[in-house]
């Protein structure tokens, strides 16, 4: 304000009491010649002048005199009298151009130059009223423009309102005029509420074309009042068009561009759809959007949605948007994609990426005929990185707010517009309404689609779990065979599944112990691997690996998880090491495949839980190389065992009179047996000295392990066939036989129960148990009195005395 006053002091105070009428006439008086330089008498004297005289009609009407040339204005507004430099810094109202033919300028009020051009003097005059008016509000304008009256005087049609395709003027701005706009040099009407031309346009010193002061673009100005329509509002974030988004592969049509749509810096802005002046009626759009025609100017590829069941003009005539509009009223696109946010009612409380689909298809939110029922559907909102091992996949992933992210949501699998899926459909796949039968999937068949994320599971194809290879006819619970359901669908339902993994196979009919049946992972396998079912050729047998117990030596999460079929098997991949489909036929497996999670020919899988037993590896009991079998396999089988514990063979035929725990050793350690080099002629302990006293058994480290507490003395009383050495962590077949090796349980015999009876003889007898000498009186450690004393103690304890 003070700057204005400064200028007027330079002119008005000099004018003094001169009347306005007088000032308009040529006068060499200094007050006039301050601007009307050509009126100066100096030009009449014939003396040299610093600047030449220019013969122009300096009266404003139909004139373009030096008085209103830019240099004259700037000679005071350059900062040294008034600082209006900002007005020269940016864009400004068109000057030195003829107004368009459509404009009707009242030149009696707003004179043009002699060239018929708009110039500074068209709008400005120092003589526009009293000094008070000029200073207080006229701002040297030819008329009061506080409510954009002068703007509208030349641009009268721009005041026509939305009904004729123009932005509202002189209407109250909800929430008041934004302070941010005031800081940009914009202003509301004099009532401080209504929008006027100067609420968006800054006539001098604007950063952008259209006299927009924001360097960041027109949309920033729009957004200050229409935050909810920019996709930045709190309620519908990202559900509106993203203002400022890079167009990327979107190519706006030529008709749209010709209609005046703007895409500054190849980015989407408010003016990409809207034309604030001379737009369409009511919506002030660049083009009419009848039946979404405007939308298709950029999204032409999505036009195919009209051929799908998502053409609600055909399939949902009775449906309404959240605002109660029908599809006939708003068009195909806008029935879901409202002008500036999702058009359907959102329940809230869930990620937007789910909500948008659920607004029509969600449980208890039945809007369409296609409702997702049932307790279990494909998981949503999970990070795909675990499945995809961090690899970039072809399907789109999202953030919770439906922006770009790394999570799987409905739209990861479904292309709701059909632009992709319809290309994959056949013309014959149309219903009676002419709509393509589609589930909007992003891949030709379900198996391919699943496989884009489930990189491991896709290898089920060609394995024994590929239903197309089954010998028996198979149908899932929807009575769909593999042809109808797809490969994955034979076992899994993506929506409306009965279990968390959408298991589609009828559950087993047999009665199973609780430790088996309580874990669904076991039941899923038994659903097929049961008598009479498609997997009946692969049953576990009566003697099979323990289920339902926590593994003692597993690590991490496995430690707290009960052993199930899924602990060792994963049903989707025939071989754990080969990234390929199965063999393409039903075949017997081995330790390198068989749906095992870890290749097991070296016992790697068993080792995960049986770390102690795995010390047999490379010991003398590791006959894997010699027998061409797995490390564990020569002795043990996991399923269909011949006798406990998971023994691979029936040993009773060799030594039927022996106890089983000795018998399984003697099976090999016999004449002509594979272990004949370690043949033991003497192996039985005298019967009368069997261990039978629990009190005695409760003593010592060895007995606490409980592995041989069967109150008998047999091979396993002293030996652990998995431990070549009690102290070495791994077996070493080359080690010399000694008390520290030889599969003896204890390096120190004193730690065995033998010492309870044999006392100081223990070491000798323990080490040389299988020799005659150790058992005879020639035993150098033989001391009958000590033995008798020990037996007395034993019997006393046995009686409980």
């Amino acid at each position: 304000m003070r700057f204005i006053a400064a200028f007027t002091t330079a002119v008005f105070l000099a004018l003094g009491s001169l009347s306005l009428a007088f000032a308009l006439e040529a006068s060499s008086k200094r007050e006039c010649a301050v601007c009307h330089v050509m009126w100066m008498d100096d030009f009449k004297t014939g003396e040299e002048t610093v600047i030449p005289w220019i013969n122009t009609n300096v009266l404003m009407k139909n004139a373009y005199g030096v008085v209103s040339a830019e240099e004259m204005c700037y000679s005071c507004h350059d900062g040294f009298v008034v600082d209006s430099r900002a007005s020269w810094a940016g864009k400004r109202h068109t000057v030195f151009k003829k107004p368009s033919a459509k404009m009707k300028i009242d030149e009696s009020k707003f004179p043009l130059s002699v060239k018929g051009e708009i110039y500074c003097g068209t709008c400005h005059s120092i003589h526009s009223g009293s000094s008070e008016e000029v200073v207080s509000y006229k701002m040297f304008l030819r008329m009061d423009n506080r409510n954009s009256e002068m703007c509208r005087a030349c641009h009268p049609s721009y005041d026509a309102g939305p009904a004729k395709g123009f932005h509202t003027t002189l209407k109250e701005i909800k929430g008041g005029f934004p302070e941010s706009l005031k800081r940009s040099g914009l202003r509301p009407a004099t009532n401080q509420k209504d929008v006027i031309c100067n609420s968006c346009h800054k006539v001098h010193g604007s950063a952008r074309e259209y006299l927009i002061p924001s360097a960041a673009g027109v949309s920033v100005i729009c957004g200050e009042c229409h935050l909810d329509k920019t996709g930045q509002g709190p309620e519908r974030k990202l559900l509106a068009h993203k203002i400022g988004a890079d167009l990327k592969d979107i190519k706006p049509s030529e008709p749209l561009k010709k209609a005046g749509a703007k895409f500054e810096e190849n980015k989407l802005g408010c003016l990409s759809c809207h034309k604030v002046h001379k737009g369409t009626a009511n919506d002030i759009l660049a083009l009419e959007n009848r039946d979404s025609e405007l939308c298709f100017q950029c999204h032409d590829s999505l036009k195919v949605v009209r051929e799908t069941p998502h053409n609600l003009a055909i399939t949902g005539k009775e449906l309404k948007t959240a605002k109660g509009k029908s599809v006939q009223e708003v068009g195909t696109c806008s029935f879901c994609h409202g002008s500036h946010g999702w058009a359907q009612k959102l329940k809230g409380g869930e990620p937007l990426a789910t909500e948008v689909c659920a607004s029509c298809h969600g449980m208890n939110r039945k809007v369409t005929k296609v409702e997702i029922k049932g307790p279990y559907s494909h998981s949503l909102g999970k990070d795909s990185a675990k499945l995809t091992k961090g690899l970039k996949i072809e399907l789109p992933l999202f953030a919770d707010d439906f922006g770009e992210g790394n999570k799987v949501y409905c739209s990861s699998c479904h292309d709701s517009h059909g632009s992709k899926s319809l290309k994959l459909s056949k013309e014959s796949d149309r219903d009676e309404r002419g709509l393509v039968k589609t589930k909007f999937l992003r891949a030709e068949n379900k198996t391919d689609l699943c496989g884009k994320c489930h990189l491991n599971e896709k290898y089920v194809k060609g394995t024994g779990h590929d239903a197309t290879l089954f010998e028996k006819k198979y149908e899932n619970i929807r009575k769909e065979g593999p042809k109808e359901s797809g490969l994955c669908g034979t076992c899994h339902l993506v929506h409306e599944g009965p279990t968390p993994i959408g298991f589609a196979v009828p559950l087993p009919s047999g009665n199973y112990p609780a430790e088996i049946s309580r874990n669904p992972a076991n039941l899923y396998c038994l659903s097929c691997h049961e008598e009479g079912k498609v997997g009946e050729k692969k049953l576990t047998g009566k003697i099979s690996h323990t289920l339902g117990k926590k593994p003692k030596e597993a690590e991490g999460k496995k430690k707290d998880t009960e052993v199930s079929c899924a602990s060792c098997h994963q049903p989707h991949r025939w071989s754990p090491t080969q990234e390929d489909f199965g063999p393409g036929k039903l075949t017997d497996g081995d330790l390198s495949n068989s749906f095992l999670r870890i290749e097991n020919s070296k016992g790697g899988l068993c080792k995960e839980c049986h770390k102690t037993e795995y010390r047999v590896f490379q010991s003398k009991h590791d006959v894997s190389e010699k027998e061409k079998k797995g490390v564990c396999e020569f002795c043990h089988v996991v399923h269909r065992g011949k006798e406990a514990p998971l023994w691979a063979r029936d040993t009773s035929k060799f030594f039927p009179e022996e106890k089983p725990k000795s018998r399984r050793c003697l099976e090999c350690h016999r004449q002509n047996g594979p272990g004949e080099k370690a043949l033991v002629k003497l192996y039985r302990h005298p019967e009368s000295f069997l261990l039978a006293d629990p009190l005695l058994l409760a003593k010592g480290d060895l007995r606490k392990e409980g592995k041989s507490l069967d109150l008998e003395i047999h091979c396993l009383t002293c030996h652990d066939p998995h431990l070549w050495s009690a102290t070495l962590l791994e077996g070493r077949a080359s080690r010399t036989l000694s008390s520290k090796t030889a599969f003896l349980k204890a390096e120190d015999p004193a730690k065995t129960s033998c010492v309870d009876c044999h006392r100081q003889e223990t070491r000798y007898k323990y080490q040389y148990f299988h020799t005659e000498k150790a058992r005879s009186k020639d035993n150098p450690y033989y001391d009958p009195s000590r033995l008798i004393e020990s037996l007395k103690t034993f019997k006393t304890r046995r009686r409980g005395e």
Binding site: R2, A6, T9, A10, A14, R30, V34, V37, M40, D42, F43, T45, E47, E48, T49, V50, I51, E70, E71, M72, Y74, S75, C76, D78, G79, F80, V81, D83, R85, A86, W88, A89
Partner: protein, 309 residues
């Protein structure tokens, strides 16, 4: 504004200058036997064009340009090669000046702050000019530092000249609104000669007024008119020894007066052609080089006396 040579070594250069200028002034004066030749222009710094620069000063063997609406001071060597810049947070600063030690002062017109920088652009202090009595906040458009270290500030809004010390204490002020020899109508710029005489450009009174350091009116140069020796929109003043150079932002002329106020001529090319700059404002010199801000043209044009390079 006059830019007396300041900084280290400036005295020796000044002696050389005095000799040169006594023989070869920028203007032909009455003789027309000498003049200047265009030697180049500076239009921006660091890839950013100037945005209505207003002032410049040669000091410390460098050229400091106040780049108006870019709110920065861009620094060049005397050949116009960019060196560095500082500031960036000025508020409509219009004037800058240098003291005898080479410190740079930037006057913020909007905040009335005077910011002091080291020759390399490091901030070394600031103070705020306070209004006189009930006047409005000063609108400082220029500054000049006397040999005594007194800082003269042009209060364009209140038509005063303030005199401050470096600590920000106002020592005195003079001038009021009016047309008399001790009054102003929008004083714009200020320069101080070696004798401590203060020259103030009085824009709307079309004069350059000389004062003693205490504000006693001494004489006036120019006056209303469009003939040689008269002023229409005087803006900048530069002093070289006993010669006063005054730019006129509307006519584009730089007119030359002697210390007595007698008109000497209009700055011209060596060919005798009078030069019309585009909206010229402040000027400075260094040796035989002459620099002038052409504000609306967003440039500093560089000239050589006698056209020699």
């Amino acid at each position: 504004m006059t830019r007396p040579m300041t900084g280290k070594g400036s005295m020796s250069m000044l002696v050389i200058l005095l000799l040169l200028f006594s023989l070869l002034p920028f203007t032909a004066a009455a003789t027309g036997s000498a003049g200047v030749e265009f030697s180049g222009e500076i239009t921006g710094a660091q890839g950013i064009p100037f945005n209505q620069p207003t002032d410049l000063v040669s000091a410390n063997g460098r050229l400091y340009v106040l780049d108006g609406l870019n709110h920065r001071v861009a620094v060049f060597d005397l050949a116009g090669k960019y060196l560095f810049q500082f500031g960036g947070d000025f508020h409509r600063a219009i004037g800058l000046c240098a003291d005898q030690r080479g410190a740079i002062y930037v006057a913020d017109a909007e905040t009335a702050k005077v910011k002091i920088f080291s020759p390399d652009g490091g901030a070394s202090g600031e103070f705020t000019a306070s209004p006189v009595g009930n006047n409005e906040k000063p609108r400082i458009t220029d500054c000049a530092v006397s040999a005594k270290g007194e800082i003269f500030l042009v209060d364009n809004g209140n038509h005063h000249i303030h005199v401050y010390d470096r600590s920000g204490r106002r020592l005195r002020w003079f001038g009021n609104f009016g047309e008399n020899n001790n009054e102003f109508r929008h004083p714009a710029t200020v320069a101080i000669d070696d004798n401590g005489v203060v020259y103030v450009v009085d824009v709307i009174n079309n004069l350059v007024k000389a004062f003693s350091s205490t504000g006693e009116p001494l004489q006036m140069l120019g006056g209303w008119g469009i003939t040689p020796g008269k002023l229409f929109r005087p803006k900048g003043v530069m002093l070289i020894r006993n010669t006063v150079y005054v730019s006129d932002s509307y006519t584009g002329a730089v007119q030359v007066f002697d210390a007595s106020g007698a008109f000497q001529g209009i700055m011209q090319r060596t060919s005798g052609e009078k030069i019309r700059f585009v909206t010229p404002t402040n000027m400075t010199s260094a040796g035989s080089r002459f620099y002038i801000v052409e504000q609306l043209k967003n440039r500093v044009s560089m000239w050589r006396m006698g056209g020699k390079r």
